[in-house]
């Protein structure tokens, strides 16, 4: 039997090209295996082979979405693969979004099976778990072995067009697809059993999980900007020089609240970014590029806005758990309300 042909997509970091300073790396294709592809290839045990690896910088991909998609699809096409694998991306946000986006595009445009892997809180997971198979991985590259051990069997099954088991069996994220099967007990019996378990306070598994729509309705617009108190919030990690509260460069466990009274302009002398995961050079050179204090001061002086709130709130949105970010914001939002803030500008990198 002929070997299954696989094309693999990875970012600049896993290709060993560089970190953030190389995140604008344009798509490049190399024959054969690069980086994590080696572990996948070894797992395939000769049944499949990575014939080419496409490498693209995470920032380049996300900032040039349409172009990058087109370029990469052309590259994939040339190798006429039976399967396309992207990642795994673990908890790297831009990488995860890139993996999901490109896998989805390849599946749609080239009609071949695709597979990727990432951590469940990676934003790419929510965006694409319904359209592509995403193996659930740990949150850092230390989980590579675990990721590969789940991705290899699923990849082979997909390429051979074999029956795919449930998300629990195969280790991918639920796609919200229901399959018919014959249960041993009839519905009424199962429902009563579930009810009894619930009444006893025992664990039970619902057969129909409700989708989690955590949406918040938009608040009414600001009526008169010239009277409004505007606050700045950022996940881009801008902090006073020296990062006095030691906000972590990734997986932040806290947020900072800093006084900007008297600051007309943030400079490399006064502020910097604590954020890892993106090239900090530009933000350190001029922190207004992330937190636009200079412009808001001008607008305040011109009377276009009522005032700029005296404090800004900041944290690092790099691999930070959703639950932490939610807790930070729930806490400082109360202060913003108490301080009479009328509207918030939140910037992200």
């Amino acid at each position: 039997m002929e070997k299954i042909r696989v094309v693999h997509y990875i970012n600049q970091f896993f290709a060993g090209i560089g970190g953030e300073e190389k995140a604008d790396y344009k798509p490049e294709v190399r024959e054969g295996v690069v980086g994590p592809g080696m572990a996948l290839n070894a797992g395939f045990k000769g049944e499949a082979e990575i014939v080419a690896t496409i490498i693209c910088g995470d920032s380049y991909f996300n900032e040039n979405l349409e172009e990058a998609k087109k370029e990469i699809i052309e590259m994939v096409k040339k190798y006429n693969p039976d399967l396309f694998i992207a990642g795994p991306a673990f908890n790297a946000g831009r990488y995860g979004v890139a993996c999901g986006t490109i896998a989805d595009a390849v599946q749609r445009e080239l009609g071949i099976p695709v597979l990727t892997g990432m951590y469940e809180e990676n934003p790419g997971a929510d965006m694409f778990k319904k359209s592509v198979y995403i193996v659930s991985t740990k949150n850092s590259a230390a989980g590579m072995r675990d990721a590969v051990s789940k991705m290899v069997p699923l990849a082979l099954k997909l390429a051979k067009n074999e029956k795919i088991g449930s998300p629990e069996e195969e280790g991918y994220m639920s796609r919200g697809i229901r399959k018919n099967f014959f249960a041993e007990k009839r519905g009424s019996e199962r429902a009563v059993e579930m009810l009894i378990k619930k009444l006893k306070g025992e664990e039970f598994v619902t057969e129909f999980p409700m989708p989690d729509f955590d949406r918040v309705e938009p608040n009414p617009a600001v009526k008169d900007l010239s009277k409004a108190k505007i606050a700045l919030v950022t996940s881009g990690g801008i902090v006073p020089k020296g990062n006095p509260d030691h906000i972590e460069s990734s997986s932040a466990s806290k947020y900072g609240k800093y006084d900007i009274e008297g600051f007309d302009d943030l400079t490399s002398e006064t502020h910097e970014t604590a954020h890892g995961g993106y090239d900090p050079v530009y933000a350190n050179e001029d922190p207004d590029r992330v937190l636009p204090v200079d412009v808001l001061r001008d607008l305040e002086k011109e009377g276009k806005i009522g005032s700029l709130h005296r404090y800004f709130y900041t944290t690092v949105g790099n691999g930070t758990a959703v639950a932490s970010a939610k807790a930070f914001a729930a806490e400082y939002a109360k202060e913003l309300v108490a301080d009479g803030v009328d509207a918030v500008i939140l910037t992200s990198t």
């Binding site: 900032e63 934003p123 309705e217 617009a221 900090p280 530009y282 933000a283 207004d288 590029r289």
Partner: protein
């Protein structure tokens, strides 16, 4: 964080480069920005041009805050 601020009753505009993430996160008012490492600036411009660009983006964000929306809206 956008959602928690909105939930507290304060209108909020999210300024970010990767707008699909912002949509997934659940921001209601979104203004696309320049690039991931410098959302509100462009180091290739001279400082005055760069500040003008930043002002334009911030004004767009203020306009978004002053605009009633029914659903998630990207202010291009």
């Amino acid at each position: 964080m956008v959602k928690e601020i909105e939930r507290a009753g304060i209108p909020v505009v999210h300024m970010c480069t990767v707008t699909p993430i912002s949509m997934t996160v659940g921001a209601n008012r979104i203004v696309p920005t320049i690039a991931i490492p410098h959302p509100l600036g462009n180091p290739k411009l001279d400082p005055e041009e760069e500040k003008a660009l930043r002002r334009q983006l911030v004004e767009k964000a203020l306009k978004a805050l002053a605009t009633e929306v029914e659903e998630q809206t990207i202010f291009e």
